[in-house]
Amino acid sequence: MKISDIPQIAAWISEAGIATYELTGPDYRICLRRSVKARSRRAGSAGSVRDAAVPARGQPDVALSLSVGLFLHAHPVQEAALVEPNEPVAAGQPLGLLQVGPILLPVLSPRDGIVASIIAPDRSLVGYGDPLVALKP
């Protein structure tokens, strides 16, 4: 890691809409923070999904990944997926889990609705802002 790398990292996190970036190495620690309000839309194919998911534009139809991680359909100790297509879900209900190292972050339903499809395959590596689960009214 060189100090000259920092502008590139700043550009990447800006492009991805990431608010906080922390990296700790053997002899350094970097923390970059951006204003959440100013964060840009994720570039590329996920952009349209993100637009659809902005609450201000009405009912979000897709639950997006809020972290890099492995997307799990079921908790490791359980066989059944947390939700199945066509299942009604409530706002705040876990739709899946993101494994980040030894912990699991819940992917919460942005609203009441019905699961249209589970977009990301089980145990797939997903990035920040990737669409995970689609909802229908």
């Binding site: 608010a19 906080t20 922390e22 923070r33 959440v36 972290s67 908790h75 490791p76 100790v77 359980q78 066989e79 876990p94 889990l97 494994q99 980040v100 190292g101 030894p102 912990i103 699991l104 972050l105 819940p106 919460l108």
Partner: protein, 330 residues
């Protein structure tokens, strides 16, 4: 405060254990799955010596009469609060009047046998000889030195102000993160003990190569296992001597007994091995009727395993802190 609503037998208050009192003949007690307890306390930001409720007979039901942050770890059971499903190994906010219910343990992936209900601030019962753990034999620690009963009301300690993981944040359970399986059976590493060489060579190899079934005569005091008969070269008569949880004794019938958390501090049966400290939680979660395997290890292997456990717990703590920091900043 929380009130126990169910009649679940053998539910006790446990912390890490009561150490340093064996010299007075006081056993360690403590959580049978110390890793599950540690994970619950990490989710809540509790100190590592906070006490929780250990449940081994289901269903279990309790009501919170104030708002409380709780974490549920250990055995896979159908758990809900006010009818809302709780993810395994996660924390959740209980409202005043909320009813927590743990159904039967079941899972094809990992069942376990003991669940832990942790609360922010820990269960606040008096500290006896350095621990809040219930020691049933001596009737000390926990709530009046006994198992919990329907109608018991448990006070909570003051939460220490540390951030709690957000609702539903969970941990990959240690049985998956630190797997140890031999021929499809959960295993535990064992140090050969003082009388190991007094057993016939075929009995020594049976210890490592045969499955051992956890019989119904297994509890917090010890696990009676059934399997091959372990035979000494010559009958042994020993004087009583100090023993610790993990010691595998072989009485005259040749069926081993593994001493567990509520073990007496002394015994006179020959010892063929000792389950290492780092693997005691694996036995603590082995359901009655299930089979286990033993793996031979040495002193260095035992210390290495303990390091591996503490590294994993630090990594869980580090990642939970990152997730908590993100919750706070978002």
């Amino acid at each position: 405060m929380m009130e126990i609503l169910s009649k679940s037998a053998l539910t006790t208050i446990q912390d890490r254990g009561r150490f340093g009192a064996l010299k007075w003949g006081v056993g360690t007690a403590g959580a049978m799955d110390g890793l599950a307890l540690a994970c619950g306390n990490l989710l809540l930001g509790n100190s590592e010596d906070a006490a929780a409720i250990e449940i081994q007979v289901f269903p279990f039901e309790a009501r919170f009469d104030c708002e409380a942050e709780i974490a549920l770890t250990g055995a896979t059971c159908e758990a809900s609060i006010d009818g809302k499903v709780i993810l395994p190994w996660s924390s959740i906010q209980a409202k005043a009047g909320s009813v927590l219910r743990l159904g039967l343990t079941r899972s094809a992936r990992w069942r376990g046998s003991r669940a832990y209900v942790c609360v922010a601030g820990g269960i606040d019962v008096p500290i006896v000889l350095g621990s809040r753990s219930t020691q049933l034999r001596g009737a000390i620690g926990g709530l009046e030195g006994r198992a919990l009963q329907q109608g018991d009301r448990l006070p909570f300690g003051q939460p220490n102000g540390a951030r709690r993981a957000s609702d539903g944040t969970s941990i990959v359970p240690p049985s998956f993160a630190l797997p140890l399986i031999v021929d499809g059976l959960p295993a535990a590493r064992v140090l050969p003990a003082a009388e190991y060489h007094c057993f016939k060579p075929e009995s020594q190899s049976d210890l490592w190569l045969k499955p051992w079934k956890v019989t119904p005569q297994s509890d917090r005091y010890g696990y009676r296992l059934s399997g091959s008969v372990l035979e000494p070269v010559a009958p042994m008569e020993l004087r009583s001597h100090g023993i610790v949880p993990g010691v595998i004794q072989v009485p005259h019938g040749g069926q081993p007994i593994v001493q567990m958390c509520d073990a007496q501090p002394s015994g006179g049966y020959p010892k063929i091995g000792t389950v290492i400290e780092a693997d005691l939680w694996r036995l603590g979660q082995a359901p009655i009727g299930s089979s286990i395997r033993f793996i031979e290890t040495d002193w260095d292997g035992a210390l290495h395993a303990l390091d591996e456990v503490s590294r994993w717990l630090s990594e869980v703590a580090r990642c939970l802190d990152l997730a908590k920091a993100r919750k706070a900043s978002s």
